[in-house]
């Protein structure tokens, strides 16, 4: 009896399971074929009508409110996806999905914004690739240059030319027109605006050298001006027990396994030799720096003899124990831990290093202090640093399938106006300070733009006002930075970050000097990744990082570099250079 009941129950359960599975099946195949037929009909629509945006614009046409910030009535529903910084901290009542921006988009613009998924930035690239392949794309999303090219070639992107003209606010248009309209041009394919540049125009990523000031003082040393002094100091940090704990557990210079990037990387060090090398992990071998030879032909920075020289010096430092023996397995976040656990005395990095990872070190222990220096060079003369930030390399795109392609432009208008425009409210939209802790509200909006020299200009204004003790000439955001400087001067250690950013001897003073003296070098090639970069980039990057790592660790002799150069040319490098030189985009 009992077993009969059981069988019955199992049968019911099985049937239930079957229905669910069958449901799954129809669902998944349904959406897939739906996506395919959708794109199919779109491409046929494209061939039929010369104006690709006609269809979506018409369907939403009745409903688009005029003006940069006109409100949709009835409200519309817009989806996107999002990558966030791993260390991001939210106010109690704000999340990435629900914050002052999303609430106001809904109440003021009539746009209800939903994220289909949110991941950390390091996973974003892969996740968005999969999303793009699935064909089920959100209404707008962020892509890198290569993905932008792919989508544009596949005819997947909505034409934003007219929409931008019609709906973008004057401020947004002004920013897009800056620097020879580099933002607008970078997003334009065959004369049509298909992507909105997310970054670009900025040189702020040029490398600086960060040094543990307290360790340097303790060892009675001064900041290095030449590479030799840098090596000396690094070895001293490793060998002379700067933390006085009696254990040999400190290192001189921090490097992580990806070798290139904005932090714990070798870019700035190589620049000190007059070499220019760049091939970051996220770029999959397509984000490269090119130089020009005497004949005006593009050459690749990473294979030049100066780079070899720099690697030789790094190998020397590694052998002397000045570089962590495990750097080759350390990713950036583990490298950051080395800094915050007081194990390393120096790192090269971009202007944001004081905001992460060393932001809290001084606050936690007032004796700890980091200082910022220009890169040391071979001769001690001022060095020329590289910057890859000038050309935009990420874009906000809108797929043709979006019913409201203009919604992102409204979001852009709204956010830009409130972060750097006339409706600016720093405490509400930019940075909110609660219990002495700063929360970056501006990072919560999906998209805003700012003039590229914004931070640099604030540095000059704020520093001037701070020296005079008179903030009256500052606008609201400047006033915020001014107050932060004053607070630090009065002993509020939690404002150390701002002291390092804006004050004398801080990062923007050094960057300003690089810029004024024309000591920033940008890639000679400004175009999109070439076909060979796409097909060979990953393999070539593997080869490069492997060889460089082995040279630094001493498991291969320095002359392995020459072999690498030869292999690079043979395995696609020659084609890449040909394509770059033939592109007509070498400046």
């Amino acid at each position: 009896m009992a077993s009969a009941k059981l069988t019955k129950r199992i049968a019911v359960a099985l049937i239930a399971a079957l229905t669910v599975l069958a449901g799954c099946g129809t669902n998944s195949t349904g959406s897939q074929s739906g996506g395919d037929s959708g794109s199919g009909s779109q491409s046929s629509a494209q061939t039929a009508t010369p104006q690709p945006t006609a269809a979506p614009a018409a369907s939403g046409g009745k409903n688009i409110p005029d003006g940069p910030e006109g409100k949709y009535d009835p409200p519309i529903h817009v989806t996107s996806v999002r990558g966030v910084t791993p260390g991001i901290e939210y106010l109690p009542d704000q999340t990435i999905e629900n914050n002052v921006w999303t609430r106001e988009f809904e109440s003021e613009l009539g746009i209800k914004l939903d994220y289909e998924w949110v991941v950390y930035n390091d996973q974003y690239n892969n996740k968005i690739n999969v999303t793009m392949v699935s064909g089920d794309m959100p209404d707008f999303f962020l892509v890198n240059m290569q993905q932008f090219q792919t989508l544009a070639q596949a005819g997947q992107l909505a034409d934003l030319t007219d929409l931008f003209e019609k709906y973008a606010s004057p401020l947004v248009k002004e920013i897009f027109a800056e620097n020879n309209a580099i933002r607008y041009k970078a997003g334009t394919v065959n004369g049509r605006l298909l992507g909105l540049a997310y970054n670009g125009g900025s040189l702020d990523d040029a490398h600086l050298l960060y040094i543990r000031e307290d360790w340097m003082k303790k060892l009675g040393r001064t900041a290095p001006r030449t590479i030799d002094e840098l090596v000396d100091l690094a070895i001293a940090f490793a060998k002379e027990d700067p933390d006085s704990n009696g254990i040999d557990d400190t290192y001189g210079l921090l490097i992580n396994k990806e070798l290139f990037g904005g932090f714990a990387s070798i870019d700035g060090f190589v620049n000190g030799f007059g070499g220019y090398a760049y091939n970051p992990a996220g770029g999959s071998g397509t984000n490269l720096i090119f130089l020009k030879d005497q004949n005006g032909q593009a050459i690749w920075g990473d294979v030049q003899p100066e780079v070899k020289q720099a690697l030789g010096k790094l190998a020397e430092m590694f052998k002397a124990g000045a570089i962590h023996p495990e750097f080759s397995v350390m990713d950036a976040s583990r490298a950051a831990e080395m800094l915050t656990s007081h194990k390393v005395g120096m790192t090269f990095g971009a202007f944001w290093v004081p905001t992460w990872p060393i932001n809290n070190m001084h606050n936690e222990n007032p004796e700890v202090d980091w200082d910022v220096y220009e890169i040391p060079t071979l001769t001690g003369e001022p060095g020329v640093v590289q910057s890859m930030g000038g050309t935009p390399n990420s874009f906000i795109v809108v797929p043709k399938s979006s019913e409201h392609p203009e919604a992102i432009i409204k979001i852009l208008n709204y956010s830009t106006e409130r972060i750097s425009g006339s409706k600016k409210d720093v405490g509400k939209y930019h940075t909110m300070t609660v219990d002495g802790k700063d929360y970056g509200i501006h990072m919560l909006t999906p998209y805003y733009v700012a003039t590229s020299e914004k931070n640099q200009n604030y540095h000059y204004q704020v520093l001037e006002a701070f020296k005079m003790g008179d903030p009256s000439g500052l606008d609201e955001e400047g006033r915020l930075y001014y107050d932060q400087l004053v607070a630090f001067a009065e002993g509020d250690r939690s404002q150390w970050v701002h002291h390092k950013l804006w004050n004398e001897g801080g990062v923007f003073e050094k960057l300003g000097r690089y810029k004024r003296e024309g000591r920033i070098l940008q890639s000679a090639y400004t175009g999109a990744p070439t076909p060979t970069m796409l097909s060979r980039g990953t393999a070539l990057r593997d080869l490069q990082v492997r060889t460089f790592t082995e040279i630094i660790m001493g498991s291969k002799p320095l002359d392995a570099f020459d072999e690498f150069v030869q292999q690079w040319y043979d395995q696609g490098g020659r084609d890449i250079l040909e394509e770059v030189n033939a592109s007509g985009q070498v400046q």
Binding site: V133, P325, S535
Partner: protein, 299 residues
């Protein structure tokens, strides 16, 4: 009679249905995607709109200088894993089988089974700490014993070894249980007869226990052969770094970097198809061998 047995079997057929549907949806359905391997796959044009390029994707992979090194690494690591992964649990099961104290046996069984439930993401973090040459406990021990410190995860000669050892450590508890189950199925009468014939424990193991386990050993070995080209993506992806690519980079991690991060889906699918074909051949071959030499049939 047949009618009656058919009726009796109906619940059994219903029970197999969900499995069948599952296989159809998740194993046979996606096979349509194999066509991507022969296309220059373009986003948006999709599987049905992309340009057909014949074997170009395969030629491209063939032309890459690292491909053969990667295949060699894959085979070396997975063959070592398969061999060690067979021997370790068999030996453990035999030893545990001889243990009289039930409490001890159960405790050991549970303890060695536990790592099976941990994901490689977590384990990789732990292993990096444990194996660190500067602060790791393993190297502290080595140093205390007078050996040199070894950079297990950063030296290319050590990396594959670490992969095999850690993988076996993680999984052997699970397989031990399978073998223990096989052991409990051996008829005690056989042991009694062996004792009557004057066999000691060792002889009993050789002549009764091992032959009793043979079918399950052959079965697991045969099934694992199909995995020769799966050297463990989760594990290696979380532990490797450029300095050990030479010996540690396997097909899956290679394709991940090549295909997924660069959006070359045609290439990734081509390698996937290549893997499947090789696996099919190997499984067929090992099945044939098992039938021929162990007279064992799965079907």
């Amino acid at each position: 009679m047949t009618r009656k047995s058919w009726k009796l079997e109906i619940p059994l057929h219903i029970m197999i249905l969900p499995g069948l549907v599952f296989v159809l949806i998740f194993s046979y359905g996606p096979m349509v995607g194999i066509s991507i391997a022969f296309q220059h796959f373009m986003l948006g044009k999709g599987m049905f709109g992309s340009e057909w390029v014949g074997l170009d994707n395969f030629k491209y992979v063939y032309s890459l200088p690292d491909t053969f090194r990667v295949i060699r690494n894959t085979v070396v690591i997975s063959v070592m894993k398969i061999a060690a992964g067979l021997i370790a649990p068999i030996v453990t099961a035999l030893l545990l089988n001889e243990v009289r104290l039930r409490l001890f046996k159960r405790t050991v069984q549970t303890m060695i089974y536990l790592p099976h439930f941990l994901s490689w993401v977590i384990l990789s973090g732990i292993l990096m700490e444990v194996l660190s040459p500067t602060t790791g406990i393993v190297n502290d021990l080595l140093a205390r014993l007078g050996f040199e410190r070894i950079f297990f995860l950063g030296r290319k000669e050590w990396f594959p070894v670490v992969m095999v050892v850690t993988d076996v450590w993680k999984e052997f508890g699970f397989n031990t249980i399978v073998y223990l189950a096989a052991l409990s199925g051996i008829n005690p009468v056989l042991y009694e007869a062996a004792v009557v014939d004057g066999a000691n424990r060792w002889k009993q193991t050789i002549h009764v226990t091992l032959p009793g386990m043979a079918p399950i050993i052959v079965l697991l070995a045969t099934l694992s052969l199909g995995n020769v080209l799966n050297a463990g993506f989760d594990q290696i992806f979380n532990l490797y770094s450029p300095s050990v690519y030479e010996t540690g980079d396997i097909l899956d991690t290679y394709v991940y970097r090549l295909g997924l991060t660069n959006g070359q889906f045609g290439v990734a699918t081509a390698v996937g198809l290549f893997k499947s074909v090789i696996s099919l051949v190997l499984i067929s071959l090992s099945y044939f061998l098992a039938y021929r030499f162990a007279n064992y049939r799965i079907f």
